[in-house]
Structures are given as C-alpha cells and as structure tokens.
Assembly symmetry: C2
DNA sequence: TTAATCATGTAACACGTTACATGATTGC
DNA sequence: GCAATCATGTAACGTGTTACATGATTAA
C-alpha cells in the first residue's frame, strides 16, 4: 500500500496529473519503488474515492485535457501518520538471479555467465547513480520550495542505492572468483 | 514466474508435498524469495496442468493424507532451460522504509527513529544468518545426494544476504549520524 | 491443557505487469 | 517523414497476501 503514500508525498509538494506522477516516480522514487502509469491511475481513482485527493479538469488546446490532482487535508494527515510509523518490513525480497545461483551447482558454466552479466549491469547502474540520478534530484530540488532541506533526505535514498549496488558488485566478484577456481580444478 | 522454478528446483532434489515445499522455502530460499503455502498450492495445481509435475496420494493414519509431487521430464527440461537463461531483472525493489526516508525532511525526529529501528533489526538479521541459516543449510546438504557440491552455491546466496544486510547497516549508521548532527544545530 | 506440528486447500482481495487505444504537437 | 512527448485510461492477467476451515497427534 506504499504506492498510495508515495503519490501523496509527491502531491504534498505540488498538484500533479497522473502523467506528472508517473514521470516523477521514474526520476526520483524509482530507485526503490517502481510504478507503472496504469497503476498510478488506478490508485488515484481509489484515493479520490477515499477523499485523500481531489481533482479538477484543465482544458488545454493542442494537448489532451489534464486531470490535476490535489492532496486533501484527510490525505495530508494520512500521509503524516504513515510517515512516522516505524514498522519495518524487510520482507519482500524477490531475486530471480539468486534462485538461479541457488540451483546453480549442476551447471557452473552458465551460473558463472549469469553472475558475470550481473556484474556488468551493476557497473552501469553505479555509473548511472552519479550522472542522471543525482542531477535529476538536484534540479527537482531547485524547482521546489524548501528543496535544499529535502534534498538531504533524497540524497540518503540515493546513497542507499549506491551502497546496495556496491555491495552486490563486490559479491559478484567474489562469486566469480570462486566459480572460476572450481572450474579450473 | 520464478516461484514455479523455485518449486521445480526443490522437486528436482526429491519428491515433496506442498507442505514440505513451504517449509523448505522458509529455510532456504526465504532469504531472497518468500512464498506462502497458499501460493505454493496454487502453483502446484498449475504446474500439474502444464505437466511439469505429477502427484500421487499417500494414505497415512493419524495424519492427514499427503499429496506427493514429483518433477516430470518436461519439468526438468523447463527448469534446466530457465536456469541457464542469463536475463537479469534488478527491477522490483520495493522498500517502504526508503519511501519514508525520501519524504522524511518534514519530520527528522521520526525519520531518525525509523532508521534506528531499522539498524536494530539489521543487527538481529545479521546474527541470524550465522546461527539458524547456515546451520539449516548445512543439515539440508547432509540429507541430500551431492549436497556438498550444492552447498557451495547455497552459501553464495547466504553471502549475498549478509553483504546486503551489512551494507544496509552501514548505511543506517551514516544516516543516523547525519540526522543527529542536523538536529543538534 | 495448551500450543505446535502435520497437511490440505479455498476465497477474496491487493498489487504489479503487459498490451492496447486515442490523437494532436513538437523537434530532429 | 518519423519519433517522441503529452495525457488519459481500460482490460486482462499474474503474483502476493490474509483469513479461514478442518482435525488428529505429539511434546511442553
């Protein structure tokens, strides 16, 4: 149910359309929460029914009409309440690659290839944190009131991504070494 | 769709009931793939329809009857094919805590508390890797043919968990320091 | 005597993904 | 001329979660 709160959090910064929110997710929360536009529209309808948001139509010419969403007081307090709730779920880790590694003993060659390709992807991911992601966050911070204060927290979430990817990269390298040693013997 | 392959992988070791598989998931793959029994039973029905597994009833006295599942040749080749497929999705990261941190600037106090409780949980998680998890895997390895070979790969998945949790723990400590410094000012 | 273990599932719902439909405008 | 952007969604499906139902046996 965090998607709803992610949406509320962004609407709390300023009114947005579903389209805006989709983009915004992609450029900020995407690192730790991915959301398709179809899902965002669905949640927006539900949230409007629950009176967490309201919407009004904006007629445009030359562009399809927009539906601009705003957070309500009810929504604002639901958000505040959720944000300070410290219950923690480290639960839903679903990693298909690790399933493959787990069952990898019967075919070390392809497991090795798998982990190598994982390593290569991670190197690109780590590079991307610096270039597009930090830059996106910086420019978003400049476009918002109190952005510099908020940016400290946004940066923490990026640091998280960097440290997780870094640890995973180091892990792939250790695994590769182990499997290569095994294959030589 | 990886759940099906997780099930196939375990059935490839030996025939099991849905109940066995649920336990097995909890003690081995749980680190990177969690599955409820209801989901496992559902997948087993689908897989039987697809002829990846077959089942037979075992009558027991004093205990409810079992349905024992076995992997078929079709299932075995589906598994082998999936295992050596190197496509990688680092996609579905869903972390509610990071959503809270992202929107944490308005309430540094509760964000601090949140991250502190995360740190405490992580310390326990890291301790658990050594005691119940390594031990479980070791005893499972001893109960299976070729277990020692396989254990190398199982251990790699545990190493993964340890390194991710370790990196996350270090991250929480950096964040706590930053926020505490901010609160003093 | 109380809880845990064994063993099966169903039902309902929530969340996530993929594919599709529409159609003008702007930039290359 | 072609692709991308803007902007809305629906439909169908797949996956994950929660709650419930049943009921004997065994260990604390």
């Amino acid at each position: 149910m965090s998607l709803q709160y992610g949406i509320l959090g962004l609407l709390n910064y300023h009114d947005s359309t579903g389209y805006d929110l989709t983009k915004r997710f992609e450029y900020s929360l995407n690192n730790f929460w991915h959301a398709q536009s179809s899902q965002i529209y669905r949640e927006l309808s539900r949230m409007e029914a629950a009176d967490w948001v309201t919407s009004r139509s904006i007629i445009q010419n030359g562009r399809p009409n927009k539906r601009l969403y705003s957070i309500t007081e009810t929504g604002r307090s639901a958000l505040a309440q959720w944000l300070c709730d410290a219950t923690l779920d480290l639960g839903n880790n679903h990693n298909a690659m690790l399933v493959r590694v787990f069952f990898g003993a019967d075919d070390p060659q392809s497991t090795l290839r798998l982990i190598q390709s994982c390593r290569d992807v991670l190197k690109k991911v780590l590079a991307a944190y610096n270039e597009p992601m930090r830059a996106n966050i910086k420019s978003y911070a400049e476009s918002i009131g109190g952005g510099e204060e908020k940016r400290k927290y946004w940066d923490m979430t990026l640091d998280y991504g960097v440290s997780q990817a870094g640890a995973m990269l180091a892990w792939t390298e250790r695994c590769i070494e182990k499997i290569e040693k095994e294959l030589v013997e």
